[in-house]
Amino acid sequence: MKVGVLGIGITQFGEIWNKGLRELLLESQLAALNDAKLSPNQIDAIYTGNMASGSLSGQLHLGAMAAENLNLDKPSIRVEGACASGGLAIRQAVHAIESGQVDIAMVNGIEKMTDVDTGQVTTALMGAGDEEIEGFNGLTFPGLYALMANSYMNKFPNLTRDILAEVAVKNHFHGVRNSYCQFKKEITIDTVKNATMVANPLTLFDCSPITDGSATIILANEKVSKEMKTDVFITGSGLANDTLSLSRRKSLTEIPAGKKAAEIAYKQAGVTADKINFAEVHDCFTIAEIMATEALGFAKFGEAYKLYSNKETYFDGKIPINTSGGLKACGHPVGATGLKQAIEATMQLRGEAKDRQVKNAEVGVTHNVGGSGATAVVHVFRKVR
């Protein structure tokens, strides 16, 4: 499989109070068109990943909005899979291109989250869990991931509180080097440990923030991609699902859907974990990055702590993880996260990542998770000359 990345566009991530849903979306759409040197009418189809615009902005029907923004009447749909909405939207576009029905597709991811209070956002995000079993009984996402963190740290005590904090420390280190990142400030292990407790053992600095942002990529089939002279391609796409509720999961110490999606994507791309140069993973909470690192095969289950205690996940380390700053520092505008991961992968492969550039980056992987692991999408990106 070879689907080329023709263009990328992203807004500033953060509390973007002076721009609404439509304006943010338009900004990343135009930036991607400009980057690809395409006009809107060259787009055959639009896919827009978004989780919660209905409850957070009172606005659904984003497919129509994305087409209207470009004055197009082409096929345009919204794709929803909780926090994996962006990755799923990319996968829908990949399928459409691979089927031959679409030559060039635009994929957007957007979330406008800071216009409502934290309680409303927490409630809206809980829609990614099982409302009947979890939400109704008072569980929130920090609570779910805290249960997973406690289970993991009991089973694998080598993952200490300090090493878990290193995930956030490293992501903030990368975030400082990324211009569109929400938090451009380095932190220490003490910053994480001494922060306000959210759900034991997760403090405020173990949790990704509430963020506004929009991101767009433009994908094309191999023929168009070669004509447009792009050398960044998606060569593998994997999707796997699991139970909506954490209580029905077989294990609390891993996210099996991530592992399965990675196996599918790696097989399609013809790669193995040891050939991958960098990864953008779904660190909605620090423990989620530990589990992602293992799901993607960079460490055996229970042994990711070694990579973090040896600082091997920095941009110049053995396996750089979340050079964008991850969800923790770059921000987590839910529907946009999967697209931001794809943009970071593209920037790394193009050699445009400046102060966080991974040397000799040839193959990268993106890992986007919905809920507590009910949906996982993995894509393999490769530089093809």
Partner: protein, 345 residues
């Protein structure tokens, strides 16, 4: 133009420490204190409200003005906590001051700048010769929902100013401007007991934008530079915001410190910038330049440039000072605080 003939303040004697609130909120008191730049706040007594605070402040202002109080032609009180939704605080206060019945009166509301706006109104009435003297008051017993971040700063206090002709004034009002927009950073809807706020949105697009814009405007209008002022007062929602806006304009610590009362009593809302002004007038020498910029959520800022006259030092001892009230204090427990705030009975 008009000027300030007399000024007075009042701050209730009760205080609650940030530590006491932090203990109940299960928060880190040191982080709160350094984050907000304040250590404690004033708490109204059980029988104190905007009317009683306004009355006390106005009595002090009248004592310093030495005028025939029957010549007051207007009484305006700005507050977010008028005791009645319908029934004017201004009428009750004027009656208790025994100024007769020949005065205009109305209560104003514009979040924390409702009091400073009444100085502009009275200055206009004096300049147009509709009145000889006007009484401008800003006072609050501000509300904060138990458990909310506002609880650390929402305080009680007020200041009053007799506005009249420049020739009699202790401080002339040389310039005043306002900067206003529709910016929903903080609000309390009708029938709701506590205000709502939009977190960090209350900062850059709200407080800082309006305070900075009004201050820039008055500096341009007056053709003055910030280092020409002896004292500078910016509205004080906490101890940090006025320092940050001051830094932007190059205001020194010395220019800010006399009026920076928030660190010791919290944010007295409509009383805040006016208590800062009263504290400065308590200590100012003659011919000193004062810059004041208030801020009211919603949002707007009123900016004033004043110059003290030779009369200032003659009146400073005629009533209790802001410092007198700040230093007179009695700490209360969290339970007593709730009782004083009528959260429990």
């Amino acid at each position: 133009m008009a000027g300030i003939i007399g000024f007075g303040a009042y701050v209730p004697k009760y205080r609650i420490k940030a530590e006491t609130i932090a203990e109940v909120q299960n928060a880190n008191a040191n982080a709160i204190k350094s984050g907000l730049g304040l250590t404690e706040k004033s708490v109204p007594g059980k029988d104190e409200d905007t009317v009683t605070i306004s009355t006390m402040a106005a009595r002090n202002a009248l004592a310093r003005s030495k005028i025939n109080k029957k010549e007051i032609g207007a009484v305006y009180i700005g507050s977010e906590s008028h005791p009645y939704a319908v029934k004017p605080s201004s009428g009750i206060v004027a009656e208790s001051l025994d100024i007769g019945n020949n005065y205009m009166a109305v209560d104003t509301e514009f979040a924390c700048k409702a009091g400073s706006a009444t100085i502009q109104i009275n200055a206009g009435l004096v300049d147009s010769k509709m009145i000889k003297y006007g009484l401008s008051i800003g006072a609050d017993t501000s509300q904060a929902e138990p458990g909310n971040a506002l609880e650390y700063s929402a305080a009680a206090g007020g200041a009053a100013f007799v506005i009249g002709n420049n020739s009699e004034s202790v401080a002339t009002i040389d310039y005043t401007v306002s900067f206003t927009s529709d910016t929903p950073d903080f609000w309390r809807r009708a029938m709701q007991p506590y205000p709502s706020h939009a977190g960090r949105f209350t900062g850059d697009p709200a407080y800082f934008k309006h305070v900075t814009s009004a201050t820039k405007l008055i500096l341009e209008k007056s053709n003055m530079k910030i280092d020409e002022f002896d004292h500078v007062i910016f509205h004080m929602p906490n101890g940090k915001f006025p320092e940050r806006v001051g830094k932007k304009f190059g205001v020194t610590k010395e220019q800010l410190e006399v009026g920076l009362v928030v660190k010791r009593i919290g944010n007295t809302y409509s009383g805040s910038s006016l208590l800062g002004l009263a504290a400065v007038l308590d200590k100012a020498k003659s011919n000193q330049k004062i810059l004041v910029t208030s801020y009211g959520s919603g949002s707007g800022s009123d900016s004033f440039i004043l110059t003290t006259t030779k009369k200032i030092e003659e009146v400073q001892n005629l009533a209790k000072t802001v410092d007198d009230y700040i230093e007179r204090k009695e700490y209360v427990s969290y339970a007593k605080y709730l009782k004083h705030m009528e959260e429990i009975h």
